[in-house]
């Protein structure tokens, strides 16, 4: 097949062999190692993670205290999949999975927020600080300067997916074992085995394996909500809750990672680490995941009323960014990350202290003079000779 050179001339050069990496809607290839990347549903989070989630990996989210923002991340993850026509798989024992699917937000059609603000700045020239007119604007949100190459969508939380659109999506829900299911993996709590068996069967039936050749390749998005929560306790387990979770949860993540490595699939798993008494469980889960984040919400804490954090709803801690088929891992520009939830956007950005604005219009030296009458030698302050 003839191809074009950079000057527009047609050459007879033919690329040898076929491209092994198939084109999948809603994904792109990494420049460093040709890894297929997909969006998490939050563009600013994609930038933190290195331009997207690598396909075949697990993103572990350590839930905030009330689980609000962890559940929100799952919604964005699934909504992004729905917008890109990716098949979805949602598992939860804490909530009814169907109710979460019904609350998926709709993507915003056009996002011209950043462009319009920059245009306004150009039209409003500076008269006093004119030397700073042409300086580059400081971008707080990661990745906002290259919004033209953004992978994912922005979503409007006030608008949810319509029942017709939801019916047209390819999704599978799991809230517990069914009659004909058989557990795999030899877990102490067989419910983990049931879920793993179901995932493995879904990967096989949907031809998501890297060796499979379906008519159209796609990415399976696995969302597992609150894995290891108290509702996962099985009465048949003889050991204590923590002892069971300590053995089963890392093993489940290891088995899941083994399945994903051979598939065009990626998983987002939320875990309520704040409920585990043994700190080793959190460490082991982070180790068995490819990437791990912790959401710390300000709700119910002293930070909620702290004026320093008045613009934000919580802090984002990057716990782990493992190397995926490469030597060096991408490191975010800043680790001081905070998130804020607006009606039409969920933004993760560098934590900035608010500017210290004085409420009084008086000059500072006037405040000193008016407040220090006892220090002046003369009682007559109106004399022009007074210093």
């Amino acid at each position: 097949m003839a191809s074009l050179t950079s000057e527009g001339n047609i050459t007879s050069f033919q690329k040898k062999g076929r491209n092994r990496i198939p084109y999948i809607q809603g994904t792109r290839q990494s420049v460093q190692n040709a890894q297929i990347l997909a969006s998490s549903g939050v563009p600013s989070l994609d930038h933190v993670l290195g331009n997207g989630l690598p396909v075949g990996t697990i993103l572990l989210i350590e839930e905030d205290v009330f689980g609000t923002f962890a559940k929100l991340m799952l919604k964005y993850f699934l909504a992004e999949g729905a917008a890109c026509d990716h098949p979805l798989f949602l598992a939860s024992r804490d909530i009814v999975p169907k109710s979460l699917m019904k609350d998926l937000p709709l993507p915003i059609k056009s996002d011209s927020g950043s462009g319009s603000s920059q245009g306004a700045k150009v039209e409003d020239p500076m008269t006093i600080a004119w030397r700073y007119q042409n300086m580059r604007q400081v971008q707080s949100a990661p990745g906002s300067s290259n919004s033209g190459t953004q992978l994912g969508h922005n979503f409007d939380l006030t608008q949810t997916i319509s029942p017709e659109d939801l019916d047209s999506c390819d999704f599978t829900l799991w809230s517990g074992p069914e009659e004909n299911d058989l557990p795999v993996g030899g877990f102490i709590n067989p419910d983990y085995g049931f879920l793993l068996s179901r995932i493995q069967k879904h990967l096989l039936d949907g031809q998501f394996g890297v060796q499979d050749e379906p008519s159209k390749h796609s990415i399976l998005r696995l969302a597992i909500h609150s894995l290891g929560s108290p509702l996962w306790v099985n009465s048949s387990c003889g050991q204590s809750l923590d002892a069971t979770i300590k053995k089963d949860l890392p093993r489940f993540l290891l088995c899941l990672r083994s399945l994903l490595r051979e598939s065009y699939a990626l998983a987002m798993v939320t875990v309520p680490c704040h409920l585990f008494q043994d700190p080793a469980i959190q460490r082991l889960c982070e180790y068995q995941s490819d990437m791990a984040l912790k959401f710390e919400s300000f709700a119910g804490s002293s930070y909620e009323t702290n004026p320093v954090f008045k613009e934000y709803h919580g802090l984002l801690h990057v716990r782990k960014l493992g190397p995926i088929n490469t030597l060096a891992t991408p490191v975010p520009e800043s680790l001081d990350l905070a998130f804020k939830l607006r009606r039409r956007k969920f933004v993760i950005e560098k934590l900035h202290l608010p500017p210290e604005l004085q409420e009084s219009a008086q000059r500072e030296q006037d405040d000193i003079l008016s407040g220090n009458k006892s220090f002046s030698c003369s009682s007559n302050q109106s004399s022009k000779l007074d210093f």
């Binding site: 088995c255 490595r261 043994d278 082991l284 180790y287 493992g322 030597l327």
Partner: protein, 272 residues
């Protein structure tokens, strides 16, 4: 220049460029959220590229002979997939795919074995028992047979095991893993010119991983400790690497992982 310096800094820090280090056992322990797979990739680079290049230069040859004078490598990867190590070593200038065709490199991917054990394929049935856990005895026999076959064709062999703690995570008891490591140590005297490199992740809060890390460290000639920075992540420094050994001067280094290179330097100084 054939001798690449991409992994040479790490090899020099570990003293592997010194002679008479063939029959040795090495322990690589990683702490926190640090990843030590780059150390194993450097070991593979040293066995397959570094040492043959040095020996050929010592013999006055321009090109190393990839024949019976080379070191063959068997990789048993438990935490990362085999594709991860292939891509990583490719960044260091080592093509494992072409070397495996010459018989110099073989791999056992335990993640693939676990994945197949969950499905109906059961291609590696001899490595998985009826409960779905890894059959350690069969795994040892498989490793031993491969090593002996490689030793017949090449001068020396090296067994590299990545993150052996994942065998415990997969359901095998800690005692069986101790016995497995003990048997592997026994291969060092059974097979001449053999090296053994075992890496493990150590979670301080988990007693099993702590015991396993201590056991591996005590039964090795040289220990490499890989950990992250205590203050978090940094673009200039990827982590901290400590070397403890009898024949090598102990030291603590900072390392930086770049796209195609591993840089080592003393804490607080720039790369040398």
């Amino acid at each position: 220049m054939l001798y690449s310096k991409m992994a040479a800094a790490l090899i020099a820090a570990l003293g592997l460029d010194q002679p008479n280090v063939q029959s040795s056992s090495f322990a690589v322990l990683e702490r926190g959220n640090a990843d030590s797979s780059f150390v194993l990739s450097c070991f593979m680079w040293e066995c397959l590229v570094g040492r043959p290049a040095r020996e050929s230069r010592a013999n006055g040859l321009l090109l190393p002979r990839t024949s019976e004078s080379s070191t063959a490598v068997l990789l048993l990867s438990c935490h990362h997939s085999s594709a991860h190590y292939r891509n990583q070593t490719l960044k260091l200038g080592l093509n494992l795919t072409s070397l495996s065709q010459k018989g110099l490199f073989e791999e056992l991917d335990l993640m693939k074995v676990i994945s197949e054990s969950l499905s109906a394929k059961k291609l590696s049935a001899e490595l998985v028992d009826e409960q779905g856990t890894i059959a350690v005895k069969n795994l040892f026999l498989s490793v031993r047979n491969k090593l002996m076959k490689m030793r017949e064709n090449f001068k020396s062999v090296c067994l590299i095991i990545g993150n052996i703690n994942d065998i415990v995570t997969s359901g095998v008891s800690l005692e069986h893993v101790f016995i497995f490591i003990n048997y592997l140590q026994g291969l060092l005297s059974e097979i001449s010119n053999m090296s053994l490199v075992i890496s493990s992740h150590v979670t301080d809060e988990d007693e099993n991983e702590r015991l396993l890390g201590t056991f591996i460290k005590n039964s090795s000639d040289l220990t490499v400790l890989v950990s992250g920075l205590q203050t978090g992540l940094s673009k200039d420094v990827s982590g901290c690497l400590s070397v403890l050994g009898q024949s090598v001067p102990s030291g603590t280094y900072h390392y930086r992982l770049m796209d195609r290179q591993v840089k080592m330097f003393s804490p607080g100084s720039s790369s040398v």
